[in-house]
């Protein structure tokens, strides 16, 4: 990609979407200019609230993000969304299908949605996601939301690059044995039971029982939502805000 990197960086920081899009592609493709990009970004980091959203395929992550983004926009916050979907282990191809759930934001200048293929990474995100989040942060987004590949158990890479991790489950996902296993349940800051109308209370009880037996210092809150029907989104948004304030508080103390 023969492009003037400094011009692209300046463009991205002043709101030019194709420049920002191009930078994201350059980090995805491991372009020779990546170090230059990261250097320019590094001095502008730390403003954005970073939220990771993970959970099994079909649990409603994208729809939940769609509604959360609407809540953020109603507060005047600008949002960057990164959606990771799986690359084929056979051909390397991918269908990046999360964006389509966020259609109401297509024409909103305050929302930038970027799809990324996992490209052989198996932790639920791709190698470039960390850098992409930094680029969004530096370009002035108030919130960056990252949606992982639909995963069940081991994909916890996301927790290392975000402030708050949401685990999205749906009724029918499994019994208490599943909840005892190691993995994402250990690291989630908030557990969301989406599609709660299909039996959310039962799953919430099982989760709380198991969490009560765990040695974790503090149990994460369990919040029931029906993203499609826009139910429970306010509760979830409030919880995210509380956590953001905690982060800011901690950052000030440091």
């Amino acid at each position: 990609m023969k492009q003037d990197v400094d011009k692209l960086i300046a463009g991205a920081f002043s709101g030019d979407e194709s420049s920002l899009g191009c930078l994201l592609t350059m980090v995805e493709n491991d372009d020779a200019s990546v170090s230059r990009i990261l250097e320019a970004v590094s001095s502008k980091l730390g403003r954005a609230y970073r939220i990771g959203i993970t959970g099994s395929p079909g649990s409603g992550k994208s729809t939940l993000i769609d509604k959360l983004v609407a809540a953020m926009r109603s507060k005047g916050l600008t949002v960057g969304v990164i959606c990771v979907d799986p690359s084929s282990p056979i051909t390397g191809g991918a269908v990046l299908g999360d964006r389509i759930r966020m259609e109401q934001h297509y024409s909103d200048d305050g929302v930038f949605i970027r799809s990324m293929a996992s490209r052989g990474s198996y932790g639920g995100i791709s190698k470039a996601v960390g850098a992409a989040v930094d680029i969004f942060d530096a370009s002035g987004k108030d919130v960056v939301v990252i949606e992982t590949v639909g995963i069940g158990q081991e994909g916890i890479d996301i927790t290392k690059i975000v402030d708050t991790t949401l685990l999205v489950l749906a009724p029918g996902w499994g019994d208490s044995m599943q909840l005892m296993k190691a993995g994402v349940l250990e690291v989630a800051d908030i557990i969301v039971i989406n599609k709660a109308d299909l039996g959310g209370d039962g799953l919430a009880d099982s989760i709380r029982e198991i969490l009560a037996l765990s040695t974790r210092k503090s149990a994460p809150p369990v919040i029931q939502t029906q993203a499609f029907n826009n139910i429970g989104i306010d509760d979830l948004y409030r919880e995210l805000e509380n956590r953001r304030n905690e982060h800011h508080h901690k950052a000030k103390e440091r």
Binding site: M1, K2, D16, E17, S18, S19, L20, G21, C22, L24, T25, N29, D30, S87, S88, T91, G92, G93, A94, V95, L96, G97, R99, I100, E103, Y106, S107, F112, I113, R114, S115, A117, R119, G120
Partner: protein, 134 residues
């Protein structure tokens, strides 16, 4: 798996038929490309914004409702205005022969009708894309 080709398949305007668009999206996936589908009934502005945000190499426009002479030139102009003039723009759907010449002059690189093998489209993309490996 270095630098897969990134493609947006888009449905501009009031056209409710996307079997072809979905078939092509999955076919190009199987050809090793990263494919995004916009969903139905998109405005020209939203399609071009998606091109910018996703920074795609290829835009495939599918239209079966007769609005191509309005939408396709508008999209080409908007791509240029938004720094995305390098995107390879292809079209498919129901495009009458008499409209093809003017659309190609406007910047649609090729028009593929119903029945075109996916491999033919994939090969065309690989041959015509600028500055990218495949």
């Amino acid at each position: 798996m270095s630098k897969p080709i990134k493609v947006l398949i888009a449905k501009p305007g009031l056209d409710g038929h996307d079997r072809g668009a979905i078939t092509l999206a999955m076919g190009l996936r199987d050809e090793g490309m990263e494919v995004i589908y916009t969903g139905l009934r998109q405005t020209a502005e939203n399609i071009v914004r998606t091109c910018s945000q996703e920074y795609v190499d290829v835009l495939g426009l599918s239209l079966l409702s007769g609005g191509h002479n309005y939408y396709f030139p508008k999209i080409i102009d908007l791509l240029k205005e938004n720094g995305m003039g390098h995107v390879l723009v292809l079209a498919g759907g129901i495009i009458p022969n008499e409209d093809r010449k003017s659309l190609k002059e406007k910047g649609i690189k090729e028009i593929f009708g119903p029945g075109t093998p996916i491999s033919e489209i994939a090969d065309f993309i690989r041959k015509n894309i600028k500055g990218e490996d495949s």
